[in-house]
């Protein structure tokens, strides 16, 4: 009775544990996450410390049109970035977003030159200029960034893409920043970092298995609780008692029982002893001993 109660309690506990395990399995945190951030500049810099957060991940930057990603020596990158406005990806704010900082360079717009050129350009050029509607249909036009005409000698390696570029962090040597540029002048719109993380979920599968085992134990106990097994138990106990009594009284073995068959075969073996091969001596002796014991018992 006490055992069955304990088993039922274990079963109830197993259901709780199993449910907890299954819910945990359903809401198990992703091993790979991709935090991102919206940006709005033609140059995005992913610092080497940020790429070190995802040693087996990827860095992606999205935009519109042709995009290039470069790596350079930190000192060369710093010198190059001294003349451009850029967004720097500096780290993680949480598992879903990145942190950034901006460095804007103020460039004086070309002042209108007051050149007294009085040359009357009376050229009635009927060149068809594109209408405003056509420009609107093609989308906004951007000027090619000035850095596109500057030297590219300091770039150690360059990747090219359209609308999006994705670079494996393992392809960027440690300590070097990744500099992503829009070659058309259209601002880049998003930066993301794919990170493989270590999720502490090693306990979920054992929890499910233990829950299942305990639940099974509880189910068995529940079956015993519902079905009345006392008549069967009484019959078994009665059979056992009868068997004990028979042995105590030295009753011959029942016909066709195992003991009776061994007795018969032992008698035959004693008659064939003279013709037995030498290699079987030990086995024969053993059988003899057994037979002798059996005979003594009977």
């Amino acid at each position: 009775m006490r055992l069955r109660t304990i088993a039922l309690v274990a079963g109830a506990l197993g259901i709780v544990v199993l449910a907890a395990g299954l819910v945990a399995d359903a809401y198990r945190p992703e091993r790979t996450v991709t935090p991102d951030v919206a940006v709005d500049s033609t140059v995005v810099v992913i610092e080497p410390e940020v790429m070190a957060l995802a040693p087996e991940g990827r860095v992606g930057v999205s935009g519109s049109g042709a995009i290039e990603a470069h790596i350079a020596r930190p000192v060369d990158a710093k010198a190059w970035l001294g003349d451009v406005s850029a967004t720097y990806v500096t780290g993680l704010s949480d598992w879903e977003s990145l942190t950034t900082r901006s460095a804007d360079r103020v460039v004086a717009s070309p002042s209108p030159t007051a050149s007294p050129s009085a040359s009357p350009s009376a050229s009635p050029s009927p060149s068809p200029s594109p209408s405003a509607e056509a420009e609107a249909a093609d989308g906004p036009e951007f000027e090619e960034p000035a850095f596109m005409t500057a030297s590219r000698d300091h770039w150690r390696e360059t990747w090219r893409g359209t609308d999006r570029i994705s670079v494996r962090t393992i392809d960027v040597p440690a300590g070097l920043p990744l500099i992503v540029t829009s070659t058309t002048g259209a601002p880049l719109t998003q930066a993301d970092l794919q990170i493989d993380r270590d999720v502490n979920d090693g306990w979920i599968n054992p929890l499910i298995w233990w829950g299942a085992v305990l639940t099974a134990v509880g189910l068995v106990a529940l079956v015993f609780f519902i079905v009345d097994l006392r008549p069967v138990q009484a019959r078994i106990e009665e059979s056992m008692a009868r068997l004990r009594r028979r042995r105590a009284a030295g009753a011959p073995p029942s016909p066709n029982s195992r003991r009776s068959r061994r007795s018969v075969s032992a008698g035959q073996a004693g008659a064939d002893d003279s013709g037995a091969p030498e290699g079987d001596d030990d086995q024969t002796d053993t059988d003899d001993t057994d037979d002798h014991d059996e005979q003594e018992r009977s």
Binding site: G21, L22, P29, E49, D94, R197
Partner: protein, 324 residues
């Protein structure tokens, strides 16, 4: 009722345990220094060299100095333009500059200007050519500024690899003896004083100064015969002079040198060889000056090494002939 309670308990337990499941945000590790500190890796240097020789080939084909693009500048552009002029009317062909390199020297310097040096394969019946590229700042490309063939028998020292890069020495760096500036000043003073100078003992013999002294002796005698003078004015161009550290701690100095050789006579008119006439600026009378833009490469051995400083590459490039 009991099942609902168990399920609710399970969900609550899972929610609590899941909060411990999500790892903490990692902190950004400190920045590591790059493993290859040189200013240019081999691929970058090859890109610079390829673009340089593409522009040079286009300009050479047309004998047009305007086609020398942004990869060729300074003395190199000026010398090449003068060679195109001299090559007109069956004059001497521009000097051969092989585009294939057997060695490239780069620096690990983090400031500008910085240099790259290429040692070409040997052209037929000549010696390898040492080319000097200079980058003034990060926004401007490496530019071929000068070249000089190695002197016969000269040997360039072992240099650091392109992945580590050589240190770009200050001209006053006293880790080598003599300092780059001192070695250059001594050598130019030797050129001024001539073969009898006491400074000749401080340098290994070289064919560059032998030719200069030989020409000076001949032209001085000719000027004396005409009651005139012959004067070599030799000046360094320090702003364009660079020094790289060698593997043995010595220095390899790349020094552009300006030489003006003035020849004058009394009561007569000077003339110049026909090959030099396209470079004449003005009307020649009793005086003519040949202007040269040379590149001299001097090797100063390291402190533990034996030997004297030596000129390993040099060339005498005529760029202009003036009447004064």
């Amino acid at each position: 009722m009991r099942g609902r309670l168990a399920l609710a308990t399970g969900v609550a337990a899972a929610a609590l345990t899941l909060s411990a499941c999500t790892p903490e945000l990692p902190t950004t590790p400190p920045a590591s220094s790059p493993q290859q500190p040189s200013a240019l890796l081999e691929e970058q240097a090859a890109r610079v060299i390829d673009e340089t020789f593409a522009q040079l080939e286009a300009a050479d084909s047309a004998r047009d100095p305007d086609l020398l693009g942004n990869r060729i500048g300074g003395d190199a552009a000026r010398v090449r333009a003068a060679q195109y002029l001299r090559a007109e009317d069956d004059g001497p062909s521009p000097s051969e500059l092989p585009s294939s390199m057997q060695a490239i020297y780069v620096t690990d310097v983090e400031s500008w200007p910085r240099i790259m040096v290429g040692v070409s394969d040997a052209p037929e019946e000549s010696t390898p050519v040492v080319g000097l590229w200079v980058q003034e700042d990060v926004s401007r490309p490496y530019q071929l500024r000068g070249w000089a063939p190695m002197l016969p028998g000269a040997t360039l020292p072992a240099m650091p690899s392109t992945s580590t890069g050589a240190s770009q020495l200050l001209l006053t760096d006293d880790s080598v003896e003599p300092s780059p500036r001192q070695a250059l000043d001594d050598y130019l003073e030797l050129l001024r004083q001539g073969s009898d100078s006491d400074l000749s003992d401080r340098f290994d013999d070289d064919i560059y100064r032998d030719r200069l002294f030989s020409a000076r002796e001949t032209l001085t005698e000719a000027a004396d015969d005409a009651d005139g003078d012959y004067i070599d004015t030799i000046q360094p161009r320090i702003e364009g002079t660079f020094a790289l550290s060698t593997a043995d701690g010595g220095a390899l100095i790349f020094a552009p040198v300006t030489i003006a050789s003035s020849f004058s006579v009394e009561d007569a008119t000077v003339s110049v060889p026909s090959a030099d006439r396209p470079l004449v600026d003005g009307d020649l009378d009793d005086k003519v000056t040949h202007h040269y833009r040379d590149l001299v490469v001097i090797f100063v051995p390291g402190p533990e090494a034996e030997g004297r400083p030596a000129v390993v590459a040099a060339d005498h490039h005529l760029v202009r002939v003036s009447d004064s």
